[in-house]
């Protein structure tokens, strides 16, 4: 694993500081790697090599002038196609935005640029982040680099696959119900979703506003921590963003926080539907923590079985409204068959959106309709508070919670395409975390017999990122799963 594109941010920033490499060299390595493997993986919807190399050159010049900005300076970071980057396509993997180019940078992109990062490429995803396999992209199906016949997870499947195969040093995704953690687990990389409000949503194309969060994919927990440090903070452009509380020097704190911890294990997460190999793998990870002196606490999250239905009410309701702006009037796909305002709306939306997006818009419209609002949306919001209450109770007994990230490893392409309910259950362990607004990370925890990665989810308290990172980091450093790379 001596290739530059498989190195961590920490390693590369040390090499850059020592003058052993340059940002242009790293960026070129990533570009070459992408050229070599993306024909098979299909992680990127588009790349802009000249733009990336220009940013890399600027980074090298900055460093030469003695003005290097920090660990991210000169590091190429791939971006999910739902995050706005100025003058780059912003299509959300949808035909609806086929020709749309963003006139502005998302706040997280602004912050990464301020940290010197090289903003690189547009990564494939499920259309408008709706899906768990990246098969809902209107443009291409991304393959899981560990087995090209399987899916990489989703919705941030492009971000996870690109990470796994070395097409970027880190990537950004978004997580509404597990869209970072689940693909991270399935692709054998680290993926993290912060406390709701910690990273600004400005420039993230909204799917479900009360659940959406930006987060990093990285090769190590420490890299994810560095990316979080660069991106977090209250933003005047997002009223739901919050000033961080507690420890935010996450990477530095990893040196101090060594455990042991009190770790909660929710019995509800090991019942029906979990793959035996996944179950055995996670139990082994829990045993490892025990062997290191951590106390394992049996906890209960009694309302977690309601998380999936609650999620599909809240998220689709918000989505039905958030996606109303794509109407063919201003910038989105406009049907050539439109004759008046009504057909402009119906034809443009009918042609522009894929099936899963339409399915969710219809569901969301239904649950908000007069006469059904109380029975669905209002009740779902009440249950959502109960789910949060479960976590609050649990955290009175533990510092962090350990669960599988996904009930199964990567499944075959097309396997669940005709069964939306089976697909929705891919996120059964991740969804309740979004509903409760908590931080969680998926860290590689081993492989199935057929060689597919498995992920361990560590759920933290609200703003408890520092502890969450430390718990994940201790496991990662004691194992070498994160150092394995697919044979591509």
């Amino acid at each position: 694993m001596s290739e530059l594109y498989f190195k961590t941010i920490t390693e590369l920033s040390a090499m850059l500081a020592a003058g052993e490499t340059t940002s242009v060299e790293i960026t070129q390595a990533v570009i070459d790697r992408t050229a070599a493997v993306d024909g098979q993986v299909k992680a990127f919807l588009s790349t802009d090599n000249d733009d990336a190399l220009a940013q890399a050159k600027a980074s090298d010049e900055r460093r030469a002038a003695g003005n290097a900005l920090g660990p991210l300076d000169g590091i190429p970071i791939g971006i999910k196609d739902t995050l706005a980057v100025k003058d780059q396509p912003l299509r959300c993997a949808s035909k609806m935005l086929e020709n749309y180019v963003s006139p502005f940078d998302a706040t997280c992109i602004v912050k990464l640029r301020e940290a010197g990062a090289v903003i690189w490429g547009r990564l494939n995803m499920d259309e408008f982040a709706m899906g768990s396999s990246t098969e809902n992209s209107a443009y291409q199906t991304t393959a899981n680099p560990w087995d090209l016949e399987t899916i990489p997870g989703g919705s941030s499947g492009g971000s996870a696959a690109a990470m796994a195969v070395g097409e970027a040093i880190a990537t950004l995704g978004t997580d509404t119900g597990g869209s970072i953690r689940q693909p991270a687990a399935l692709c054998g990389v680290v993926g993290m979703k912060p406390t709701y409000g910690l990273i600004s949503r400005y420039g993230l194309v909204a799917f479900a506003s009360s659940l959406d969060q930006v987060g990093p994919f990285a090769r190590t927990v420490e890299d994810a921590a560095l990316l979080m440090e660069a991106m977090l903070g209250k933003d005047d452009l997002d009223s739901t963003s919050i000033a961080p509380q507690g420890e935010t020097n996450y990477a530095e704190a990893l040196k101090e926080k060594k455990g042991p911890w009190k770790l909660g294990v929710p019995r509800e997460f090991f019942g029906e539907g979990i793959d035996p190999e996944v179950k055995a793998n996670i139990e082994k990870a829990i045993d490892w923590y025990k062997s290191q002196g951590s106390e394992i606490v049996d906890i209960s999250l009694p309302h977690s079985e309601l998380a999936v239905p609650v999620y599909y009410i809240v998220a689709t309701a918000e989505a039905s409204s958030n996606l109303a702006r794509f109407d063919g009037v201003r910038y989105s796909h406009r049907s050539e068959e439109s004759k008046d305002a009504l057909t402009l709306f119906t034809k443009s939306r009918g042609e522009g959106f894929g099936d899963e997006v339409k399915r969710r818009i219809i569901l969301g419209t239904y649950v908000l309709s007069s006469g059904y609002y109380d029975a669905y949306y209002l009740r779902a919001q009440k249950v959502r508070r109960l789910i949060l209450g479960d976590f609050e109770n649990a955290f009175e007994q533990c510092d962090a919670i350990l669960t599988p990230t996904s009930p199964t490893p990567a499944f075959k392409r097309g396997e669940r395409s005709d069964d939306p309910l089976a697909m929705y259950l891919s996120d059964v362990y991740t969804i309740s975390v979004n509903l409760a607004g908590l931080p969680a990370i998926s860290v590689p925890s081993g492989f199935t017999e057929s060689g597919l990665p498995i992920g361990l989810q560590v759920i933290g308290k609200a703003f408890g990122e520092a502890d969450m990172f430390a718990v994940a980091h201790s496991f990662e450093q004691a194992h070498d799963y994160h150092k394995q790379t697919p044979a591509l």
């Binding site: 706005a84 502005f104 909204a206 452009l237 997002d238 009037v329 402009l344």
Partner: protein
């Protein structure tokens, strides 16, 4: 059966703020189309609203001016509907928890004649909430064009209870409301510019019945005369239907100014289901009570309170107070002038007669009079003029000439008197000689006076005034003539 009308109004008022309600884009009337927009106004993917607190404060002030209770907390909801003038295809509004609750407005009904004050009564309000204005559609021969300049302008919707029973009351209400809003500096309420718009709900019920009949809602009433005509038309239309034994269909109707009739826009069954739900992008607004108290303390005196005070404390007649109090600037000008010379009647007369006449004459277009602030006159001009007349420095007659001169030049009246040598003559010798001449020259008038006709003296005063170019002190002249005739 005899029917009575029940009328409720919904008035939209553009709140005057420097920038729009949820973004920093500026707003002004009449700018070139689509120049006052930004990414948020256009609803570009990834944008989020951020509240302009000035809009909240102004709307709270409006509520206080109209006697509303200001909510502890107000919230934002999305009103979902597709229309090409709506950039997001939902409108941010306050459905469940509006900013202002209740309220009442004092109205003045027309008196039996223009010079006689009419009855006063109160119209009860239901609520005032804030929402964002959509853009403006213009239908041309073969296409419809959209101007998004207006989109996102803060709009206060004032909802009355069904508390009026005639078009006359509705008109009186709108006039009173407009005065209150303009007084408080919330909006200019120019209906032609769309700064104030009105929808009217009309129903009929048998006289004496408490139960409300089926109502219709009339849209697109963009002048007070339209409101009046539309309500009258609707009362007549419903009366005819009921008298013929028919029943009223609950529907939304559109007033057509050209034909002076209305037509059905949509029935209750076709009414939109707006699928309201709390906006997940904006936080609820906690109203700071200390700030609300400050806003209340800043409120100007309400116009009808002022009118009452002028009548009671300054003994001014309705004919004058009704002119003076309609306009806050005018009444403040008046009160300021009283500080120079405390003669309310004289000063009020100068303002309501001379000043308004000159302002009207000075208007270039002749369609609307100039504002008092546009004239060269200050309150001190008028106060001083009244003062030097009362002190006998000049006569009232000369005062008119001085007024015209100072209106044109802005010179102070005493300076004009000095410069033009207009000081009243109190030289008894000169005037006595002229009086004797006049008496000698008009035996007829002298005879009439002796017969008891006091007015006959005027015929004698004329030549004296003419000879002194109006500078003779009229009181002195009067006295002298009488004395000389009695003696002679």
């Amino acid at each position: 059966m005899k029917y009575e009308a029940v009328i409720g109004l919904e008035i939209h008022v553009q709140v005057k703020t420097r920038t729009k309600m949820f973004t920093a884009a500026p707003y002004e009337y009449g700018a070139a189309p689509n120049t006052l927009t930004d990414a948020v106004v256009l609803g570009l993917p990834g944008t989020l609203p951020v509240l302009n607190h000035a809009a909240i404060e102004k709307c709270a002030k409006l509520g206080l001016m109209l006697g509303c209770e200001i909510a502890e907390v107000c919230k934002w909801d999305r009103k979902n509907y597709f229309y090409p003038d709506s950039p997001k295809n939902y409108q941010l509004t306050q459905n469940e928890q509006p900013l202002c609750i209740g309220g009442k407005v004092e109205i003045e009904l027309p008196g039996p004649s223009r010079n006689v004050e009419g009855e006063h009564r109160w119209v009860t309000l239901n609520r005032i909430h804030l929402e964002e204005d959509p853009g403006k559609l213009t239908h041309e021969a073969f296409e419809t064009v959209i101007d998004f300049n207006r989109a996102g302008v803060p709009l206060a919707e004032i909802v009355t209870e069904p508390d009026m029973s005639s078009s006359t009351e509705a008109v009186a209400f709108l006039n009173a409301l407009r005065n209150l809003i303009v007084y408080a500096g919330i909006s200019d309420c120019d209906m032609e510019k769309g700064q104030m718009r009105c929808d009217a709900n009309v129903s009929l019920r048998p006289v004496g019945s408490e139960k409300l009949g089926t109502r219709t809602e009339m849209k697109n009433l963009n002048s007070i005369s339209n409101v009046k005509a539309a309500i009258e038309y609707e009362i007549e239309r419903q009366t005819e239907i009921l008298e013929e034994g028919g029943s009223i269909v609950q529907e939304t109707r559109r007033w057509d100014v050209e034909s002076g009739t209305s037509f059905s826009l949509r029935s209750k069954e076709e009414a939109h289901d707006y699928r309201y739900f709390p906006d997940p992008d904006l936080m609820p607004v906690q109203m700071d009570r200390a700030r609300v108290a400050e806003l209340e303390a800043e409120l100007p005196e309400r116009p009808l309170d002022k009118q009452r005070r002028y009548q009671q404390e300054l003994d001014l007649p309705f004919t004058i107070t009704s002119v003076l109090c309609v306009n806050r600037e005018l009444s403040e000008f008046f009160e300021e002038a009283l500080k120079t010379h405390n003669a309310p009647k004289q000063i009020a007369n100068y303002i309501t007669n001379d000043l308004l006449r000159e302002l009207s004459a000075a208007s270039e277009h002749g369609d609307s009079a100039l504002d008092v602030s546009q004239s060269k006159l200050t309150p001190a001009h008028i106060g001083t003029l009244a003062k030097i007349i009362d002190e006998g420095v000049i006569s009232k007659q000369i005062g008119k000439e001085v007024f015209t001169a100072m209106f044109l030049t802005g010179q102070m009246p005493d300076a004009i008197v000095e410069e033009k040598g207009l000081k009243q003559s109190n030289d008894t010798g000169e005037i006595e000689a002229l009086c004797r001449e006049a008496i000698a020259g008009n035996a007829k008038a002298v005879g009439q006076y002796k017969d008891g006709n006091e007015k006959a003296l005027n015929a004698l005063k004329g030549p004296v005034m003419k000879a002194t170019k109006g500078k003779a002190n009229p009181a002195m002249l009067d006295q002298l003539l009488k004395k000389l005739i009695d003696e002679g």
